[in-house]
Symmetry: C2
Subunit: 289 residues, 2 copies
DNA sequence: TCCATTGAATGGGTGATCCATTTAATAATT
DNA sequence: AATTATTAAATGGATCACCCATTCAATGGA
């Protein structure tokens, strides 16, 4: 801040002139074997470089959760970029769940941890963009849950069973009081608890992301048609009992048959699986991160 | 652009004054039951709102892959924000794989599709941040591959088998010529082909993201110790033969025993599973998106 | 001791301005 | 007429110089 260099382009700090790259790939001039690599679509930009460097520091362990990056103004100067460009990078990393930006003195960019919801966003984006289909998502969910049940059956602890019991209790109440949409929320929780019971956060994240989206369709269906899965709580109780007995085969069988029943229920109404319907609904819910 | 409004704050276009929100949650004033919700950590910012709106348009199908957003200057004016802030949002969405920004006249922000690599980034970030562990990743990989083998066994087509055969061929050549690191690259491809053979992009993405990271550890191990899995190509050939016979049980058994053997090999060298080692290696590879 | 005030640091945001790239239209050349 | 070079406009990339709102520690008065 003190050794402020000349007004324009003080860039010669740490970034070795990002402009003027990889020209010279003149198509006619090269008589060489011409490697089959295509040049990247768009040139490297400052904010990409910054994101990469910060990620590098994270991967190498130089930056750890809880650490604070230098203030925007300082860091921008260190990197030899304008504050605006730095902010583009910081915002991107914040959206990626890597940083958290906090205002005020003692504020700054802090390295985050524990955010397991980014995969949901990725999954949602891919669905919106048509990169993946609802069918693929449903199929993946049913199959991944096989795995979840197997692992949960082995690894679930008393606390997990208690949480599942409590959840089923809430489901009962919601059913009795006719709060069908709350019941859907309970279902979402049920799978979240089950996923956590695997003891594997990677698998939990995967199943959460897929379940999150699935539940929107269920929500939309229930909200529009008013029909709901019959005997849901009973089925769940039976399932949890099997889980308690550590009876893997039975637990998987019960879960799978339930999931397929739900799937049939959803599919019997064409259009209920439409993206727009499901996405328009459930906005006020806990959907927000 | 023509009806350029007055120089300062023409903000009353579409954004209803983003400043001054949700005050009034005075801690002392509320004698009410005090709902157990905590107010969000940081206030809503313009770029978040913009990202959300664009994602909303995507989810609703108003924006589709290939569509072009208005030019930055125009869109900024429409939204009633400065161009800088809009760019923060656009950069974030580009990093998320939702948009692609292209320079020049006829350039602009185009809605992307088909990018299945975002999940890899998420997984990598979570590992760097310590949100997930290497152990969880390995366990998830082994279990998810059960599923992949089962689905691939049912769904694989001739083209998939051919691709697997060709891959094994390359593995043989790399082995014969002692190019051990190329062999690791072949392994990465092998699992990618296998994942694609499931016919389910969601599952393929999941296994790709997990395999991608796993292979860095293998790469680091091979690069440092020089030891490599013996009889790799033979094992693969046997596996693919079983796959061709659609013998699910055998295929799963073979894959699992192989994965566990690799796992043991990796674990026998403490420190080989360290993050830093694995991440420092394999930079020049195809790791780049 | 307690509470109000102040001020500095920080992120949030703006607007003007310039650069580099890309493309289409135009002019010059053959 | 066809080809090639030039030009101009639109667009994203980047910078600078500000200003505002929030936060929090230091200060000072009751």
């Amino acid at each position: 801040m003190s050794p402020k260099s000349s007004p324009h382009t003080p860039a010669s700090l740490r970034r070795p002139s990002p402009k003027r790259r990889e020209r010279g790939s003149d198509l006619r001039a090269s008589g060489a074997p011409a490697p089959p690599t295509f040049r990247p679509i768009h040139t490297r930009r400052a904010f990409e470089e910054i994101c990469e460097r910060i990620r590098e520091q994270l991967a190498l362990g130089v930056l750890k959760p809880g650490d604070k990056l230098p203030a925007e103004r300082d860091l921008a100067q260190q990197l030899g970029v304008s504050r605006n460009v730095l902010r583009e990078a910081l915002r991107s990393l914040e959206m990626a769940g890597v940083l958290r930006l906090q205002k005020g003195v003692k504020g700054g960019a802090f390295v985050q941890t524990g955010d397991t919801s980014r995969m949901n966003v990725v999954m949602q984006d891919m669905l919106s963009l048509g990169t993946i289909s609802v069918r693929e998502l449903s199929e993946a969910r049913i199959n991944v849950l096989d795995l979840v049940v197997r692992l949960a059956c082995v690894n679930a602890r008393q606390a997990d069973f208690a949480a599942l019991d409590a959840n089923i209790e809430r489901t009962d109440v919601a059913t009795a009081e006719g709060r069908l949409l709350d019941r859907v929320e309970c279902s979402r929780e049920f799978y979240k608890i089950l996923a956590a019971a695997t003891g594997n956060k990677v698998i939990a994240m995967i199943v959460d992301s897929v379940t999150e989206i699935h539940m929107r369709f269920v929500y939309a269906k229930v909200a529009s048609s008013g029909v709901a899965m019959p005997r849901l709580a009973e089925r769940r109780r039976q399932f949890v009992a099997t889980l308690r007995e550590r009876n893997v085969a039975s637990a998987i069988r019960l879960m799978r048959s339930h999931l397929e029943a739900v799937q049939r229920m959803l599919e019997q109404d064409p259009g209920a699986m439409s993206l727009q319907v499901a996405l328009a609904e459930m906005q006020p819910g806990i959907t927000r991160r």
